[in-house]
Symmetry: C2
Subunit: 476 residues, 2 copies
């Protein structure tokens, strides 16, 4: 009875995907709403996922020479205004501090929505010579954007992220770093989060405020909507000119630096939920699962059962493992483990002990595998590895099955309305067509993928000669 209650409490994803998402976020104990409108409290289980993301992403950063720093959280208004496009993009959605203690500030400060301006202000004083380049800095922090509509992880007024900010002697080197970090992001999503992504370039309409070029990785959620999962920007020397960041080059000439920035956020947790989750709750890829193996003793009051459960836990010490020794029923424990997306459940009861075996149940497939106790470590390792791979392949198959092509507006509309997913279609390069598609179908250009295909010769919208293939879609 008890286990039914827990499972019944979440909405089916096919019935109401938005409600299913909210249910999972709450029932898996990832977040809690707070008295601060639009801001969430990230609970221990949600934060443990973020810690695993941070650790593995930070390691990958450091392998490419990234150094971590910390800049102030406030930006004086005059600093924010130095780069014209940038301030236009961000000023409407920042939080303003006007008072410090009992006094009104002479100049108001915004809480950083992103820190390009602060890094520029820092680099201006820190970079003098070509010997000081490149600078490849990153910070882990929270940022604030005053969103009107918010959803846990996907869009909140405050969120956690990392923001990398680099400075280089040449445009070529900046471009190389921009692409390098996009590839770090893409590999991380695929290898760690088991989320396949499309790598590409944003159109001018969709690029970051102040950037010369924005690159993106785009993932497809279970409901066929796209999620921008990480972006990497090449600023050229635009910010350097606005802030006066110059260096003396080898040829003794004073030159402006070229800059990049790149970021990933707690939004990734939303992506994990919406790519891998099912009607029993969360499904976590083993590499970001705070608990990879939950051991559930069956008839735990019988002699020797709990002892065996603890002994197995100790043997599985190389994994993130726990024993559920609470006084709940096994069925209740099963559905809790499922709701929390713990990759492997190990069931062990008196009969298993007698037979010298246990049962491993895979969270993603529900498959039950009988394992001899002496093979447990090896089997657990094998199954977790397999699960990590299978989850990526399953997500890739889902994405491919939900990627269509359209050669005209009628086809585009038909697909967007009836078979949600990515639509590959040609584009003339004119923003008017992009605007029209957005207005008519509420779909946006997700990216111009690096891997271009020739779907047709003409723009899906205006019929003029096409220049680029674009991924279109409705997006979070």
């Amino acid at each position: 009875m008890a286990e039914k209650k827990l499972v019944e409490a979440i909405t089916s994803m096919d019935e109401d995907f938005a409600q299913w998402y909210t249910d999972v976020v709450k029932k898996a104990e990832l977040i809690e709403y707070t008295s601060v409108k639009g801001c969430m409290a990230i609970k221990p289980y949600g934060y443990a996922i973020w810690e695993l993301i941070q650790k593995q992403l930070d390691e990958r950063f450091k392998e490419t020479g990234v150094e971590n720093v910390y800049m102030p959280m406030f930006i004086p208004e005059s600093l924010l205004q130095k780069e014209k496009d940038h301030v236009e993009g961000f000023a409407p959605e920042v939080a303003w501090v006007t008072h410090g203690g009992l006094n009104e500030l002479q100049e108001r400060l915004c809480v950083r929505p992103t820190s390009e301006t602060l890094f520029c202000d820092f680099y201006k004083n820190d970079i003098h010579s070509y010997r000081d380049l490149p600078k490849v800095y990153n910070q882990w922090c929270s940022v604030v954007r005053w969103e009107k509509e918010t959803r846990p992880f996907l869009r909140s007024r405050e969120f956690l992220w990392q923001e990398g900010h680099t400075a280089h002697a040449t445009m070529e080197e900046a471009e190389e770093r921009t692409i390098q970090m996009l590839n770090v992001y893409a590999d991380f999503c695929e290898q760690v989060l088991a989320i396949p992504v499309i790598r590409g370039k944003k159109t001018d309409k969709e690029k970051f405020a102040g950037a010369e070029a924005t690159y993106t990785i785009e993932a497809l959620m279970h409901d066929g909507k796209a999620l921008q999962s990480g972006t990497s920007h090449n600023f050229g020397d635009g910010f350097a000119k606005a802030f006066g960041i110059q260096f003396t080059d080898r040829d003794n000439k004073l030159k402006y630096v070229y800059q990049t920035s790149w970021g990933m956020t707690t939004r990734l947790i939303g992506a994990i939920i919406m790519v891998h989750g099912d009607d029993s709750g969360l499904v976590l890829p083993p590499r970001v699962a705070p608990v990879q193996i939950m051991i559930v003793p069956i008839q735990q009051k019988k002699e020797g059962v709990l002892e065996m459960a603890y002994a197995l836990r100790d043997r599985l010490g190389g994994f993130r493992v726990k024993v559920d020794d609470t006084d709940k029923s096994p069925g209740w424990k099963f559905s809790e483990q499922e709701m929390r997306g713990i990759p492997i459940r190990v069931e062990i009861g008196p009969k298993d002990i007698e037979a010298g075996r246990c049962v491993i149940c895979r969270r993603d497939t529900g498959e039950k595998i009988e394992v001899r106790l002496e093979d447990l470590e090896e089997k657990a390792d094998e199954i977790l590895e397999q699960m990590q791979k299978d989850m990526l392949e399953r997500a890739r198959a889902h994405r491919d099955a939900h990627t269509h092509t359209a050669v005209n507006m009628a086809e585009l509309e038909d697909i967007l309305n009836n078979e949600p997913g990515f639509v590959k279609a040609m584009w003339c390069g004119d923003q008017a067509c992009e605007d029209q598609i957005k207005e008519k179908f509420a779909a946006t250009s997700r990216c111009m993928p690096f891997e271009q295909e020739q779907i047709s010769d003409t723009c899906v919208c205006c019929g003029r000669p096409a220049k680029k293939m674009v991924y279109w879609g409705r997006a979070y």
Copy 2:
């Protein structure tokens, strides 16, 4: 010549300790001042120290069952006001957000100066039964206090810290956790930072706004001034009553929870500088040194020297090790390594290679040790271990030599003015005496140490019967 310039650029610590501190902070490249008044940019080397502090402190937390979470950075004004003493303590020094985007907020929000109120608001909804207790949560974040006078690491308008917030079923359990975390802090300071601390209780005058009891660890800096290095507070059920945090206990009665909080900050980096530094710059305890060993090749253009330096680096892979292969002179490299406080320098040149040896130079003592190349790993390990221990003992000896006793106001004044350090003196327990000492000598009660001694029978100030021995001192 070059090396001289670098060394000469810092003020001697005995000449002007404050200027010496500022010089070290800048020349060791720990921080940079920013356009945001009172806020600093933490540079890669400074942040790497913080990362090592975080990692080792977080591990110790998790061993005691702490779980990490993340609460919003904003506190609605009405929430801040719920606990009377707390709001009085913090309201005068918070930054207020009054506008979100283009609109004025209905209720202004302060940027968290500390998060008791947010955790209380969260616990109110999250705790229902004794089964939900204890809650032992912590977050790593930045906080803002609108200080008038600021100094890098010691006092800045924004700083990084961790804040633990716990909830318990009984007062005893809360008190136990309060002391447990104080001991974690003390052990961490001594074992990792090589900083000896006095553990004790704050007087009512000095306790945290809203706390029933505040415990502290107090360290003595090289100049004889005290630095409060970590605090742990027992709130009793005061906050629980103000916020209505109740649970149903085993006896089916509704009860208020008992709470604690405890924090340590980037101020610890200031403590490391001021306890261990010398006139050549920073001296880092090996356990928090981002680079533990710097290999400096001598006559590096000679055949085989750089190759040997790299080979040694590879052999020392178990440590945090680097080769300084820049084109600077060895002397310049030496003074840079000294300025940055890197514990061990390994010098290797053509003659050393021929003789099958190298020279290890200890940063703390300047001692040069000839080591046969085949013994290098073992010797390096031994020396780093020894250095970690010696630094703690040296700091302890300095503190003990600068701890005096006073039995009356004349003695107290004489010591404070002529032999800066801790003064142990008896106290009647009356705040009037505490106020008087502060007013006359600008010294405060640092703590009532757990290890009490009987210095005399009467209060150092008023001569009435004494109740407690107190550590007094001038403090940062």
